[in-house]
Symmetry: C2
Subunit: 438 residues, 2 copies
Amino acid sequence: MSFFFYPRSVAVFGSFKRGAIAYEILRNIVEGEFTGKILPINPKGGTVEVNGKTFRIKPKLNEPVDVAIIAIPAKIVPALIDEIGPLIKGAVVISAGFSEVGNVELERELVEKAKKHGIRIIGPNCAGIFGVHGKFFGSFEVRVKPGGLALISQSGAFGGAALAMGNDEGIGFSAFVSYGNAADLNESDFLEYFADDENTKAIALYIEGVKDGRRFMKALRYAASKKPVIVLKAGKSASGAKAAASHTGSLAGSYEIYRAAFKQAGAIEVDEMEELFDAAKAFEMYPKAGKRVAVITNSGGPGVLATDKLEKLGLEMAKLNEETVQKLRSFLPPQCSVRNPIDLIADADYERYKRTIETVCRDENVDSLLVICVPPIFIPSEEIARAVIEAECDKPLIVNFMAGELVREGVKLLEEKGIKNFPTPERAAKALKWLSLR
Amino acid sequence: MSFFFYPRSVAVFGSFKRGAIAYEILRNIVEGEFTGKILPINPKGGTVEVNGKTFRIKPKLNEPVDVAIIAIPAKIVPALIDEIGPLIKGAVVISAGFSEVGNVELERELVEKAKKHGIRIIGPNCAGIFGVHGKFFGSFEVRVKPGGLALISQSGAFGGAALAMGNDEGIGFSAFVSYGNAADLNESDFLEYFADDENTKAIALYIEGVKDGRRFMKALRYAASKKPVIVLKAGKSASGAKAAASHTGSLAGSYEIYRAAFKQAGAIEVDEMEELFDAAKAFEMYPKAGKRVAVITNSGGPGVLATDKLEKLGLEMAKLNEETVQKLRSFLPPQCSVRNPIDLIADADYERYKRTIETVCRDENVDSLLVICVPPIFIPSEEIARAVIEAECDKPLIVNFMAGELVREGVKLLEEKGIKNFPTPERAAKALKWLSLR
């Protein structure tokens, strides 16, 4: 299936008027600096300009390409697949108007034509795909930075919103696939594929329902055995399930069954969209973490909030060993608390943070660190960011730099080094919880 | 107590070297455009320049002022209070080094001097106060925009971080008070005061523990009878309570007792820092809302997520009456779902949103609306923002414009009109939950 995410050539079918779907996809592919061959196709021919570059629109495809992206009226899609089948390996069908609006027969026909030519289909009724490391942005959704997260989304719009919000959260992506009606390839195929994709460190899955539960369990178990799989299930409530049915036509089924299945397969279920990002951020950094957490803070209150959340989530406040406590006592001012949470107080600087992180990290009772920083009064937040970056520590370390604008420069510095920030103590604590589930 | 938040004159005691606490407070007062008299005081005299304006530093206070802000070494604070007592109405003692580090006697002395002169004390060991509508920023924390939220925080650093994050979230503030050790005035006094402050629409309270539970209950009940009171309690867990004790010296006590007390008093307890903001945003807009929610969306997935969360939180998906359904059917494209959640599908524009909001708002089965917008493909998000702003609807309406950068302009437009955005469907659903608790 890798030809979908690392294609050498692509044909785009549809209208290339500015603002039309096919045009937007072409623009994304070109602006994303795809290095392979790009063929815009429309029976009317003509030219299309993207980013100052002019493409001839071919009236029909007459050479082999890896992937066809199709955004033409649903009715004529099966005929097109039949026509170009011998020339392509797979097609991404963006077009809507299939089973999701009752046109089951049309969708059946689409699959039949694909089978006839031995090609694979993503969609129909989908938002497209990204193979980020292949610089292939085959979707009209916003482009993203390369990284370790593969996002598989049953809902195109959810996926698109998640990509944009992922950009804001500093998440890097390996791939994105919106699989729509899943007429041919479905969530299970993508789980299996990304489980083996070496650029993918973690998989995030948004589903409303699956058709083949047995297959799904197998794929989920396989993927979760290879890397973290984060699942957000929509349609958990009675009304939600009903709404999902009218949205993607999927039978949401009993949520309790899904829930048990996720757990049994070793996937990490999150309850909210924001948690999907936070878990993804955590797993892009670390494959897992133990349960015994040391909290380091320059402010008591947030340290207490983190402690509350960690305990509530079933994690443990690490009991520092005596050697660690004495070492901390030796260089920290007497007002500092050397019990966990360790309070470095308001005037904590680079040195105090760095030495504390290093000392605590060497304690065998500590599995992971949660480092909190409220805006330091006398120094810029970048200094604390540098302390976090430069401290020698080989254990998972989650940071919570608080207070938006006031720590922006520090957060930027951290992100440049691949250290993602969690904006509240509780969100940081939850990140450690998810890491502990692996 | 209003002289603290709407003073006519203020004296600041401490060092006015750049970066020193007293200097930073003076800077904040001057930059915040305080219109009353400002007197920097230090025995060494001299001058201090702030914002291109030069102030003479008086060696001692020799004229009456409403408020003294004190950032001098703890040891000499009681003597200063004794000296200036006859000239002031109240003092905000920023200085640390009192009961929180075991100097109980020093704190007792401070209170004694204040009582002797009949003046009131905020602090010691606090971050100061803001009276935002009085343009009085008597703290070194970041200044905020005027609005309806009074923030009362036991932890100064938490308060400071919350103010900065509140700025990012578009929250407007009426006041801020960090009350530190609460040697004299405490959380109960502030609750009662802000309950009657006409510029305050909602009160947010961060506490670790209270000393006088009976008094607190009375004050909380009184405040909650007047306006929404949102409480974030830190020190809920065993380790958290222990950490709180070493932080503010307060006995956190059994969380179950607090929890019951909050409920009984009619306060709204939130579990996380982010929820404190979200509840504050909701209550800055609306005093309350009923339980029957109509969800309007341009994307199925997020509509399902909102539905799931609403049901999980015990709210109801409003059952639209037949007239509403037929009216919607009359102008919406056939692919749209007119059942709740109402899916306007991807190409929804200004007109479709506006008419739908207006139609649904008139349904007597609907108490409140949750309007979701993922980035529209063919039009800018501002158009949907305009539809929300211009729709005639007199019921609480919570918006969730999703996807950061892609909807930034729309969100900006909404915020200019006082409509605060909730970035995920779940956070929007929670906002409605809190509104339903009033």
